[in-house]
């Protein structure tokens, strides 16, 4: 109980005093996760929508695989990215290991299947509803995908938020490919893991409270923007 009280007190103190290290960690966490989600949305939404509107042999297997990949273990992804980016790996020459870019790559790999699978479901449902009307108008190919993605935009905001939730809460992959280096690759989650391992539970809990707060704030802000846009345009 004492730890929890101390944690809340410490969290408030860190925020109210504008702790430089805390804000650096928060900034890096947000920039890494948001960039990873942006990359994942660009790839995952187009892929998911394309799968939703096309029929081809093996499609069922791809959908099942995509759904299964939503549960991809972060440490396995981290290990895979580590092997690829390490000095002996095929992309070692790029020198990306233990940089924020490596963390973005790992998180994007984790989030893309989530975004693609959920987008596939959302777009497929909408396509079923629009199918004959759009066929009648001759809408197909890229135009069909663009139309469905645009009309599903408010549902897709939720998909992006689900992806962000997966990315910002992730620790296994980023700690392997980022290395948790102070002032360079330390994020909220890796910092929490570190402080916990040091037995500094109050600080770890305080960081956890801040992380949850940030997560809620980002979700609230995006949902609010989406909701306001939806209401103002009433569509």
């Amino acid at each position: 109980m004492g730890d929890i009280q101390a944690a809340f007190s410490l969290a408030a103190n860190l925020i109210l005093t504008g702790d430089k290290d805390l804000f650096e960690i928060v900034g890096l966490s947000l920039s890494v996760s948001m960039t990873a989600v942006a990359v994942a949305c660009a790839i995952g939404m187009t892929t998911g929508a394309a799968i939703a509107v096309t029929r081809f042999p093996g499609r069922g297997a791809i959908v099942a695989l995509l759904n299964a990949l939503m549960g991809l273990p972060p440490v396995v992804v981290g290990l895979g990215v580590y092997l690829v980016l390490s000095r002996a790996g095929p992309l070692g020459v790029l020198g990306l290991l233990y940089t924020p870019t490596a963390m973005i790559i790992a998180q994007a790999i984790l989030v893309t299947p989530v975004v693609a699978a959920l987008t596939r479901q959302v777009v497929e449902d909408l396509h079923r509803e629009y199918d004959e009307a759009l066929k009648s108008l001759g809408v197909r190919g890229i135009g069909l995908v663009r139309t469905l993605l645009w009309d599903a935009r408010y549902s897709l905001i939720t998909v992006a938020l689900a992806g962000f939730g997966r990315a910002v809460a992730e620790v296994g992959a980023v700690i392997i490919v980022g290395g948790n280096i102070d002032h360079l690759t330390r994020t909220m989650t890796t910092a929490i893991a570190l402080e916990t391992s040091k037995g500094n539970l109050a600080l770890a809990l305080a960081l956890g409270i801040v992380l949850v707060g940030i997560s809620l704030a980002v979700n609230g802000a995006v949902s609010g923007v989406g909701g306001v846009a939806g209401r103002s345009r009433n569509v």
């Binding site: 004959e132 009307a133 009648s136 001759g138 809408v139 569509v235």
Partner: protein
Amino acid sequence: MSDSILPLSARNLRYEVNGTPLIEDISMTVAPGSFTVVLGPNGAGKSLLLRLLHGLITPISGAVGWSGVGSLRGRTLRQRQAMVFQRPVLLRRSVEANVRFALKWQGAKPAQLHEACEFALERAGLTDRRRVPARLLSVGEQQRLVVARALAGKPDILFLDEPTASLDPASVQRIEALLQEANASGMAMVLVTHDIGQARRLGQNIVFVHRGRLVENAAAEPFFRNPQSAAAGAYLKGEIVV
């Protein structure tokens, strides 16, 4: 815009699902500017026939041919026809955006877009509702919008699958007025309906379908005065036709 794609000529259409024939050997022609009403009991295959004619589904055998379309294929041919479904399908956009979307895909040039959109909204009586989300309109307004959207691109032929089913009489009257006006300007119509009164009001030609077969194809007046088939006669009397 080049010459009309009509007459439409369907030859020996056959369609089946899992070996069960749903449309059998139907041949018919739709002339430019005509108003054809497809009548028949529930499950007769009327809506399927409409989808076959419009090209939404492909017949197992037989073909739908269009006049002078050697060079017109795919999207261009599609732009010259439109269809209204029983349940209004509206994009999650404003009333105006729905019309603009259809116009773009029907090949309207950017310079024509505004004028064509204004005209369609005005004809449908939805000018004041242009910014309203289409899905917030009443059912009658939604169907009026769908009809206006289909008419906006001035297709050569409009297919309508029970567009006024479950609408109130005032909405039916407004939609029928839109259809009659478009037909008077030379647009051909093929309308599926259960409403015999509507068929009498609008139809110039009647196609009666029963159990997937075309049983009668006649001018409206003689059809209603003296149907040639027992099924059509019973249907017009209001009897249950199985």
